[in-house]
């Protein structure tokens, strides 16, 4: 059989296996090497909550999907061109995501009776799953790995751990990936603690590559040319990393030391872990005894003059509610990052959703408004975190930054910006002489002034009790109503300092598709597909949720209908309805713990047209 190398615009590859099979690493390596090769890409790690879920079961399958292409990739892709299935359960869990033309690489060694039974197969899995028409590439990956390393002197367990490299090697052959990046990675990972593991991993990788080249089972190989991306220096970045770095950038631009008080929680922990590294940039992190202590240490640090941050996910945010009210009342700058996951309660911790929006907008006692911003892609978490910090400091208010598990763990190539392109962040420090009145406000923004312990002559007290402008406790009815109104108006006036809502498409028409947060890539892809079919649709995506951009009503006025697509039961749609009751706002929601599929959105749009 002749190998043909076919040029393709983009491919979607899903690596799937037991949660101990190293599929997250394999997928990450494949993504990173593709990024360095120059492809556009988007990734989607999809894994169970258990660290080592029951071996061989469908619920224990860990997957990592990579979408690479010759242009910028907006989504990790709905369906895959290749599935690597390390066991029957991985095949079963992912068969539904196969394209008609898909190639399925399976480790035949793991397709024994015991594993077939654990995955719930009675006979031939390919027949049972009705995927006979796909190109099945059987390879005895486990035994080939063992054969490859029989003279390595390694024990059976260590040898078994290398089999993901065999699969990676095969994938690299099929998609014409140069192996150099993996070599460098292996050197770096193992050189300190396990130098003896470098050579075996490298050998298995090479053997996998050569095996794929030699067997006659693979009809074609594919080439995905580098994307025509804007010139410059790039790196791959996950959303959680970008969030942490955006906060560090805000610390540098404001001259305020960064303080992060947090409690570990999936999927937000990565931000705390990342910040804990960068002590060299002045970041202080406290791993608190609980979520409440996390936010309260941050509030203390804000009072003491730091750029204060706490990071969490939905259940943690619930615990922080009372303290968030304290931050609203004391009017201290605070960034709260909520990496949303499927709820309620513990929900599905490793799966993505946008179901915390109502909690963030409404979930506190009293009249308690605060600013809410959202990130729309993994790399955008950098700008979103920077913006959140800038708003918090300059407007003296807590700001909630909403990201999602999908963004936090997902990654994309990022054109590295220069810090000189970012604006300064100017803390509104108290100045002058005379008694300091902590709740007197700036005429324009209504932000109060910030007096930090150590500043002579500005001694004052803040707290959860209502106060008057002078900072004296007051239960005067008129004063309370005035302060409530001023705190709300302060948040509203942030709108003057944020960019207008960008409209993609004509300013007038039948339908405006609206999204917020991590659904951006999927909605953009859906809208682009439908436009290619000749349909006239406009699209607007919100990075600022509260307050809304000041031109929102004006943009909406040009359309007969607005369709809000979000991963919840209509939180943002309701928020928009409450702000613009005369608009015809429809909702398309999904709550499966999974991102949208592009085809789901195109379907929803077509139904509205």
């Amino acid at each position: 059989m002749e190998h043909k190398v076919i040029d393709v615009g983009d491919v979607v590859i899903r690596f799937a296996g037991d949660s101990g099979d190293g599929m997250q690493l394999t997928g990450t390596l494949f993504a990173d090497m593709s990024a360095i090769y120059g492809n556009g890409l988007s990734t989607f790690p999809d894994y169970p909550a258990e660290i080592r879920a029951p071996h061989g079961t469908v619920s224990g399958v860990s997957g990592f999907q990579v979408h690479i292409g010759s242009s910028k990739m907006n989504t990790p892709g709905d369906f895959c061109d290749m599935l690597v299935a390390m066991n029957p359960a991985a095949l079963k869990a992912n068969a539904r995501w196969l394209k008609r033309t898909a190639l399925v690489l399976i480790d035949t060694d793991s397709f024994d009776d015991a594993n077939l039974q654990k995955a719930g197969f009675k006979g031939n899995p390919v027949e049972e799953l009705k995927i006979e028409d796909r190109v099945i590439v059987p390879a005895a990956i486990t035994s080939l790995t063992a054969e490859s390393l029989k003279d390595s002197g390694l024990d059976q367990k260590s040898i078994a751990k290398c089999k993901n490299m065999f699969a990676l090697g095969m994938a690299c052959f099929i998609y014409s990936r140069p192996l150099d990046y993996v070599y460098t990675y292996l050197e770096k990972k193992f050189s300190k603690k396990h130098p003896e593991m470098i050579a075996p991993n490298r050998k298995v990788l090479d053997d996998g590559f050569n095996y794929a080249a030699n067997i006659q089972a693979i009809p074609n190989t594919y080439s995905i040319e580098p994307a025509d991306l804007p010139k410059g220096l790039y790196r791959n970045i996950t959303g959680n990393q970008a969030t942490a770095w955006g906060l560090l950038a805000a610390s540098e631009k404001s001259g305020l030391p960064l303080f992060c008080g947090s409690y570990p929680i999936t999927p937000a922990t990565g931000i705390l872990e990342e910040l804990a590294i960068y002590k060299n940039l002045g970041a202080r992190t406290v791993q608190a005894e609980d979520e409440i202590a996390g936010i309260c240490t941050a509030i203390g640090a804000a009072f003491a003059g730091n750029l204060a941050v706490t990071t969490t996910s939905g259940p943690g945010l619930s615990l922080k509610s009372e303290a968030l009210g304290l931050a609203v009342m004391t009017e201290l700058p605070l960034v709260v990052v909520d990496v949303q996951r499927a709820g309620p309660s513990t929900g599905i911790p490793t799966k993505t959703e946008q179901t915390d929006l109502n909690q963030v907008l409404y979930g506190r006692n009293g009249e308690c408004p605060l600013a809410v911003v959202a990130a729309h892609s993994p790399a955008d978490c950098f700008d979103a975190a920077f913006n959140a910090a800038k708003i918090a400091v300059e407007h003296m208010t807590p700001v909630v930054l909403l990201t999602e598990g999908f963004l936090g763990n997902g990654s994309e190539p990022w054109l590295i910006p220069s810090m000189s392109d970012y604006p300064a962040i100017v803390p509104p420090y108290a100045e002058g002489e005379g008694p300091f009145h902590p709740f007197e406000r700036d005429a324009e923004t209504l932000a109060r002034k910030w007096a930090v312990p150590g500043m002579k002559g500005f001694e004052h007290r803040v707290g959860g009790l209502e106060k008057n402008h002078r900072g004296v406790i007051s239960s005067d009815p008129e004063n309370h109503e005035l302060m409530v109104a001023e705190r709300a108006e302060k948040v509203e006036r942030i709108a003057a300092c944020i960019p207008d809502l960008k409209l993609d498409g004509p300013a007038k028409g039948k339908l405006l598709v609206v999204g917020w947060g991590g659904t951006y890539g999927h909605i953009l892809s859906a809208v682009s597909e439908l436009r290619a079919e000749g349909r006239d649709i406009s699209f607007a995506h919100f990075d600022f949720i509260s307050p809304l951009p000041k031109n929102t009503a004006e943009v909406f006025a040009g359309f007969e209908k607005i369709l809000v697509c979000e991963l919840n039961c209509g939180h943002f749609a309701n928020w928009l309805r409450s702000k613009m009751p005369s608009c015809d706002i429809r909702s398309f929601g999904k709550v499966q713990g999974q991102p949208f599929l592009v085809q789901e959105i195109t379907g929803a749009i077509k139904r509205e047209l």
Binding site: K279, R284, V286, A293, G300, P417, R461, V462, G464
Partner: protein, 339 residues
């Protein structure tokens, strides 16, 4: 050199505690102590921060003319922690009650102590919830009758001292609200101590728990039922200064000097600096009728403080790292050029 008097630390706010409340005397001792500490450590007034949670005693920050933070129920400790870690040059003082620190804030309390955050916690222990008008607290005695325990409580109280020592606290002291001079002395020692200091003040709530500490605080019995411990001094107490504490096997016993051949030399000398908590725990746990209640600084030992360790780590890593700014960070690790 900072030279202040107690008056400089008094704010112009009207003090709103009930007449006769024990908190008034604690506030008086605190303003004196702060003036004293500011001189001893050369800290200007604007570098003092007073933090509190919720409860009667938590009104205290309004009455002290420093930076102040009256926070939410139980959370004074993490707020103090954040302030101290953010700026280790501040002198942080915290006022909290028995409900605030040991019930709703119990978790934060033990963890601050475990971390040895350099904050000064004044624990006002009146064994009752005062601001919510009289419910039992985690320090109420077994059987205490209150609005929420009309037939008496059926739970054992915490002894704050053993809680602090169990968490490997580096400083614990105890006193009575009315002991103005002793309280000032303890607060100064707490202020000079590096690490978490916990000072339990047994306060009287005239409205909801009047006389709860009467069995040791009454003038007629105080000398016989309490002992003031001072480092390096003999553990002697009593109206006639003739009673003392001795080791008795694995425990302690009260003896009378002059009886059974016992002389002052046989009496234990208090060592607040001893690292092992054993004897401090026995002293903190002493109660009537067999023992006097220990007052004064029971424990004061040296250990690395959290904020200092954090600052040192920041400095050490900064000195070593090649990443000096965010631009360096963004360009670190694996990158590639699109030409």
């Amino acid at each position: 050199m900072a030279t202040y008097t107690a008056k400089d630390f008094k704010s112009d706010q009207e003090v709103r505690w009930c007449p006769g409340c024990g908190d008034h005397a604690v506030l008086a001792a605190l303003t004196r102590a702060l003036a004293n500490v500011s001189g001893a450590l050369d800290i200007d007034k604007e570098r003092f921060v007073v933090v509190s949670g919720i409860g009667c005693s938590s009104r205290l920050p309004y009455y002290v003319d420093t930076y102040g933070f009256h926070s939410i129920h139980g959370r004074a400790t993490p707020i103090s922690t954040g302030i101290k870690v953010a700026n280790p040059d501040l002198s942080v003082w915290q006022a909290c009650g028995d409900g605030d620190a040991l019930a709703i804030g119990g978790n934060h309390f033990i963890h601050a102590i475990r971390r040895n955050i350099d904050i000064n916690i004044i624990l006002f222990n009146n064994r009752i919830y005062g601001l919510t008008k009289g419910q039992y607290s985690p320090t109420s005695k077994f059987g205490t009758i209150t609005k929420t325990s009309p037939y008496g409580t059926v739970e054992e109280p915490f002894n704050p001292g053993s809680l602090v020592l169990g968490a490997k606290g580096t400083f614990f002291a105890r006193s009575l609200d009315s002991e103005l001079k002793l309280n000032e002395e303890i607060m100064v020692a707490a202020g000079l101590h590096e690490g978490t200091s916990v000072f339990e003040v047994l306060t009287n709530c005239v409205i909801f728990n009047d006389g709860t500490h009467k069995d040791i605080s009454d003038r007629e019995v105080r000398a016989d039922r309490t002992i003031v411990l001072r480092h390096g001094e003999k553990m002697i107490f009593g109206k006639n200064r003739d009673k003392g504490i001795m080791l008795d096997g694995l425990g302690l016993k009260v003896v009378t000097i002059g009886e059974n051949g016992i002389t002052e030399d046989d009496i234990l000398t208090h060592d607040a600096h001893m690292e092992h908590i054993g004897i401090h725990l026995m002293l903190a746990d002493m109660k009537g009728p067999d023992f006097p209640v220990a007052l004064g600084v029971i424990r004061d030992v040296k250990a690395v403080t959290y904020a200092t360790a954090v600052r040192e780590q920041v400095e050490a890593v900064t000195a070593k790292s090649r990443i000096k700014c965010v631009d360096d960070l963004l360009r670190s690790g694996a990158t590639w050029e699109v030409k």
